[in-house]
Symmetry: C4
Subunit: 289 residues, 4 copies
């Protein structure tokens, strides 16, 4: 907070408490200072340990042996995360904004499952959602190169959002129709696994996405014939989302490459957007520099 | 219908009946008016409910409990859809044109299965084809952004149609040959599942499209070796349809982006390719005409 | 054969026999005349019937009923194809060239399996290779639009041949290494299906190509962990062949689009390869027209 | 070593031993001479034989018959490879540099497993890693066309490295979350195979990569519904790595194609962007300097 800020917000002269809050904010949300770095590295390690604990608890052979230790450690870490969450709410200027932000929701979802586990035991396994908190760590440690990579991907995805939504709704509708037809064809043969339309739709999704578990598979000749057509068409259709995203990515790559043009402004008529290499203003004929 | 239309088609002075028909047309086919919007939203909901009913009926546990209710509701909705279909035929100017249009056929196919279900019980499940009617709803509510996305996809697909057909016919032929060879190699081992050439062709489709159910899989060493070659080649070949559609999509994206240049030539320095709307030569500053 | 040919090859004055041979050539290899069209359509139908026969014979339930009829018809068609093959050899100018051409080999392979079937019964099923003869039919009926599509694909594949070979050899080597490692990890658990290194390599191919039959799958925790890494890497690597072919296809599409430039030649110094829109020769300064 | 080198490194006058070492180096590391070619071809054959031996040994039926022969031959080849490795270390100028180079590590890993096999029998199968030595053979025989293809791929992969790492870490995190949720949903049904969170994560990887073994598959309706969503999203997401690599490949292909322009500017009309080697302005014909 520099002099200018002080002049603009004269009331905000720092009280002792406020200064403590600001230091905490620096430690928790940033990593420029030594303690900030230390805090975030500890957090990173705690998150990884806690996710590992949840996984170990779900493995019967490990849980049978170390159940007590696993439960104790999980509660210790969850209480630490809860304290951290309260501190975050305390130090930010606008708690509600943080509360409803992407990271705020992830932070809350990271501690809730353990408490819910008191009432619904199996729900505690959901606490492995805390692994998503690692996203923030990446951001804090400024792995800019990777962040830029991520941004390029996000941009390509955002630009092709409308097309992807159209494509996915189309796939959803088509999958309902294919599933119903296959149910009519294969439904009488319980060994095929087409026991109901929802199950058949599930089969259609499994097939069109080329996952192909094999727990449901046509057994009649006609069913196999229809399935073959679905697969061959799907083979041609899988190209569509790839084409969409790639076209955006190629467009993005081209923009990065282009020399920065059009930044010239005519001194006489203030027209901009000249072609690359233009010597004179296209609107008034005045020389450009 | 404005004055000009009246002068051109003097006979078409609206009778009372004709005006009623026009209002119905507006309600059923458009969604600009309040009643039009209401009608189409009700239709949207009815379609979703009716598809849900068909699905529920196919699930044995639900059908056992609520069979009566499901059948009654399905008939109610089908009769409503039938009335709607008759009204559509009544209100459009050229019934035959609607009858043979894409949406006309979908509308008919949406009501037929329930009636056919009287004679062939299982065919009634085909009525979930009505979910395709949702396409029209999208169009009516003018989700233009998504429609444009859809059009771009369709355009890329249409432009690469010939290539996709060639590719798919090539895959079809190759699949017959691979299937026959695998039948000769694996046919003597009934546990492999290669029981006939059609079944082996089905296996080839399942494998080349990388679906891989596993109900049919080679068991002999030579069969596995051949299958490996088929898969590795298929891995290289899967790139082809993607490449085709992507090339089209990239071409489309490029056209959208290009600055519009015109064919003006400077009288002084003979430079061409000026931006649209340029008044002076970008190279020598001489006025353009 | 016009006058010029006659002057150049005076000895080839047509004998009665030679004229008959030429007419046969026109009928068998071309489809401009009425009889040529008829012959090729009959051939098309015969090929489809014969492939259908082979398929039917492989289906036990059909073969049990109609074995006699199927065998008789297959021999009739094979003898017809043999006669046709002999006629082809007889009518072409350079029989050896036809014999070793792509279509010549396909034609021979189409009739051999039935004769070999006398000694090795199962080999007769290979005669479904005759379906590849359909390629020629496509060419004869001049479906030029589709042929151009096919050529574009072939061109893109040929241009990226070196890259695809490198990629596939890389995949082959990597698959041997992955297979061996997985055999060491999973080999002691016969229920996993990793019974030998070749089988494990087969698993690696099935996994990397995302086919995933499931007849062989890791059962140990470490095996599953390694398999996950293989799959995630494979997920990133599947992009490579697509990227290669697409880059070629995009390049091809761009070339189609570009205005034909660089065709100007300087009248003074005969320099060519000028930039689009150049008014003066870049080498000698002479005006270009 | 020419005169200039001798003047610069006067001490390096070749002793008899040094000359022998240089000749060995030429034979082992290069293939310009006759003996170099012979050595490398023998090496190529030995590598292929030795990998085949390892594979045969892992097949029970073959191993039962020829165990003695296989073991003897494997030891012979391993000892030959060990001698070769020692010779390589002896002939290179900087042994440590070779020792830690890519090929040095591969060469070492190729002989270690057989020796380790004395203590841990199954580890000897890892010696099939020697197949990676073939990479060097390719390089030595100068299959430049294929090497260039390989380089283009490597370049495209290296340029999109950051994006691929971001994508793969994102997939890793998401897979943990999906696995945990599916474990909570399906964990109570042991027949589904979701026995622990790590196993469920393995399922998520198998599904998202569209491998789909089918050994683990949801059995509850809700589990199938969630799995369908995962697959459909995965279908849209599979486009991302392809888009990334393709964009790079297209960029690379474009650079190869572009005509080389320079930054000369015409003194008369101030036009820029002339072709490399142009002597006169393409627009006004004025000489360029």
């Amino acid at each position: 907070m520099n002099l200018e800020d002080k002049l603009m917000f004269p009331k905000m002269e720092k009280s002792k408490q406020s200064r403590f809050r600001d230091r905490l904010f620096e430690i928790i949300f940033e990593s420029d200072t030594f303690y900030g770095k230390l805090f975030n590295i500890c957090l990173l390690i705690l998150i990884l340990i806690s996710v590992a604990l949840v996984m170990f608890e779900s493995v019967d052979s490990i849980n049978a042996k170390y159940h007590r230790e696993l439960v104790i450690w999980e509660w210790v870490i969850t209480i630490l995360f809860t304290l951290e969450y309260i501190l975050r709410l305390y130090t930010v200027r606008k708690p509600w904004r943080y509360f409803f932000s992407f990271y705020g929701i992830i932070d809350l979802l990271s501690i809730l499952p353990t408490y819910m586990g008191i009432f619904y035991p199996s729900s505690k396994y959901l606490s492995s959602i805390r692994i998503l908190r690692l996203f923030r760590i990446f951001r804090i440690f400024g792995l800019t190169d990777f962040l830029r990579g991520g941004n390029t991907i996000l941009l390509a995805l955002r630009n092709s959002r409308a097309k992807i939504v159209v494509f996915l709704s189309f796939v959803t509708l088509i999958v309902v129709v294919i599933g119903s037809i296959m149910y009519v064809v294969e439904g009488k043969h319980p060994e095929s696994g087409f026991t109901s339309i929802p199950t058949s739709i599930y089969w259609a999704v499994v097939t069109l996405t080329t996952v192909g578990y094999g727990d449901i598979a046509p057994v009649t000749a006609f069913g196999k014939f229809l399935a073959s057509i679905v697969m061959i068409i799907g083979y041609g259709v899988i190209a569509v989302p790839t084409g969409i995203v790639t076209a955006e990515a190629v467009k993005g790559a081209r923009k990065e490459n282009e020399p920065q043009k059009n930044s010239q402004v005519c001194q006489h008529c203030h027209d901009s957007k000249h072609l690359d290499g233009a010597n004179f203003c296209k609107t008034c004929g005045y020389p450009l520099h």
